[in-house]
């Protein structure tokens, strides 16, 4: 079978629309414009070492880590309950978790503004119950809430799919050998579910650390994340150099976290270089 040339059109496409754009961003991040062309510079990366920008990076990572932890703590029990149920109900539950993702995510995030507002739905209910009002819109808490809301299914689903594949005989064997429920969970179920946990963590952390929409809507634009900073460089301040440098830093951040995750991952997904 000598049909490898069939890939040629796509290779051309890839070079043009994947490889070249990446190199353009790399290029803009290390050059500055002078009267006669371009000059190599490290200035864009140097600018990043300002406490203001470092703080933005730290805040992005911290908020993403907090959201990931909350997703894990809330999602794992849910995945366990889902995996333990009988078949017919399971399918409906699975659908119910997937279904919200079919609605435009900007709109769902926007709906949280309606819920969280000072005179919003949640506060209306709270005041009816004579409870103190909740005022978290345009704060870090609201951003974390938005991240957890948007990415929780990505934690539940991979854990669920690993848990439901665990051989019941192994669990029964552990119980027969005298393990109580907690020991069986700690020594058998949890270690076996680790691949699902790891892919859940990746699937929540990555989009959370790079988002600029959630922080803009629920954070009111006053709490910058690195995504907002990049958007601003390209769309309002027109500083491509700095924006490109930030993008390169973000790519490195993603590569780094992928690297850390893949060290723990048992089966690799196919991309050997990553």
């Amino acid at each position: 079978m000598k049909r490898h040339w069939l890939a040629t059109p796509y290779i051309v496409w890839m070079v043009l629309f994947i490889v070249v754009p990446m190199f353009l961003v790399l290029f803009y991040s290390v050059v500055e414009r002078t009267e006669d062309g371009y000059r190599l510079t490290a200035e864009h990366f140097h600018r990043f070492v300002d406490p203001i920008y470092i703080n933005v990076l730290i805040r992005s990572v911290v908020l993403a880590v907090i959201s990931t932890i909350i997703c894990l703590l809330a999602g794992y029990p849910m995945a366990m309950i889902l995996a333990s149920r009988e078949y017919s109900r399971k399918k409906i539950m699975y659908m119910l978790i997937v279904l919200p993702m079919w609605m435009n995510f900007l709109l769902r995030t926007y709906a949280w503004m309606t819920l969280l507002e000072r005179k919003g739905v949640i506060n209306y209910v709270l005041s009816m119950l004579n409870l103190p009002s909740l005022d978290i819109l345009y704060t870090n808490q609201a951003v974390v809430l938005g991240m957890v809301y948007n990415f929780l299914p990505f934690m539940i689903l991979p854990i669920y799919s690993v848990l439901s594949k665990i051989d019941q005989n192994i669990i029964e064997a552990a119980q027969d050998l005298g393990g109580n429920n907690f020991t069986v969970f700690r020594r058998v179920v949890f270690p076996l579910s680790l691949p699902g946990v790891l892919s859940g963590i990746t699937m929540v952390f990555m989009p959370a650390v790079t988002t600029f929409v959630i922080s803009k809507l629920l954070g009111g634009g006053q709490f910058m994340l690195i995504g907002n900073l990049i958007e601003q460089q390209f769309l309002s301040s027109g500083d491509w150099g700095f924006g490109s440098a930030l993008s390169v830093i973000m790519m490195l951040l993603i590569l780094l976290s992928m690297g850390i995750m893949s060290r723990y991952e048992q089966e690799s997904g196919g991309g050997a270089l990553w």
Partner: protein
């Protein structure tokens, strides 16, 4: 314990569905502001059809989704067969490059494409939007088709040739039916990814061409028109109905379900959407 489990499940679903419920309820709200309730009305559903901005956004959203997923699927089929028949080293290089748009944060994909288009002096608009969508769709199509090619019996194609089929006939009669489930998954994946994309579209479009996500983002500051709520309520109900129909059909026909490995495919399908946000 049972009660505890049930209430936990209820709590999680309440959390997931609260915003959606609010959106739907407010599509029947007489008052325009998102805060207060002014009585029940259907006027937003009526006005929806006459809103030029929303209708044009809907048109572009659907047009780009259909075109980009069809083109990406066609390129993806051809490319998958080519990649499958490659030697080990070039194959792994190509697959790694193929992974870049999936692994890269959307914002980086978006700005790098924008930089490319501006660098090539292309006007940002419909063409650049379509090109970007095709670019981020193809990798998902290829990743859906390749496993099917690997599962296929290698000798089937040769047998077809031995029995006198031309390569073309062998492709359409033997290979294509074998990889069809992968093609369909890839196509649906591409279609929904394109339909729901905001970040990449946001950076690569211009001059009056906007999809629904971009229009919604633009409105979010001033307050989203209840007409958008009405539209998304309708779209949500369409999806819900489709899912119910597909589900009923599948549960009636257990053999079909086994054949297409529906649940497994769904799993991958969902996991890939994650990147979109």
């Amino acid at each position: 314990m049972r009660f505890l489990k049930k209430s936990y499940v209820f709590l999680i679903f309440a959390f997931l569905y609260a915003p959606i419920l609010v959106l739907m309820i407010f599509s029947f709200n007489e008052s325009k502001s998102r805060g207060n309730w002014g009585g029940f009305t259907l006027k937003w559903y009526m006005e929806l059809l006459h809103d030029k901005q929303i209708m044009s956004a809907l048109y572009y959203t659907l047009l780009v989704a259909v075109l980009s997923s069809v083109i990406a699927t066609l390129i993806g089929i051809i490319a998958s067969i080519g990649i499958f028949n490659m030697k080990k080293l070039p194959q792994s290089i190509i697959l790694n490059v193929n992974y870049i748009p999936i692994l890269n944060p959307d914002i980086v994909t978006g700005i790098s494409l924008m930089v490319l288009f501006i660098f090539m002096k292309m006007r940002l608009g419909f063409v650049t939007l379509l090109l970007s969508h095709i670019t981020f769709n193809i990798p998902y199509v290829i990743l859906s088709i390749l496993p099917k090619l690997k599962q296929m019996n290698k000798h089937l194609y040769e047998a077809a040739l031995d029995l006198g089929a031309t390569p073309m006939v062998a492709f359409f009669k033997v290979i294509l039916p074998e990889i069809m489930p992968g093609i369909i998954t890839g196509f649906l994946l591409a279609f929904t990814l394109s339909l729901d994309d905001f970040v990449i579209s946001f950076f690569t479009t211009g001059s009056g061409v906007a999809n629904l996500s971009i229009v919604i983002y633009g409105m979010a500051r001033r307050g989203i028109s209840p007409k958008i709520n009405a539209l998304s309520t309708l779209m949500f109900l369409c999806v819900l109905m489709l899912l119910i129909i597909v589900n009923l059909r599948m549960s009636k026909d257990p053999e079909r379900r086994l054949k297409s490995g529906a649940s497994k495919e769904n799993g991958r399908y969902i996991s890939s959407i994650g990147h979109d946000i």
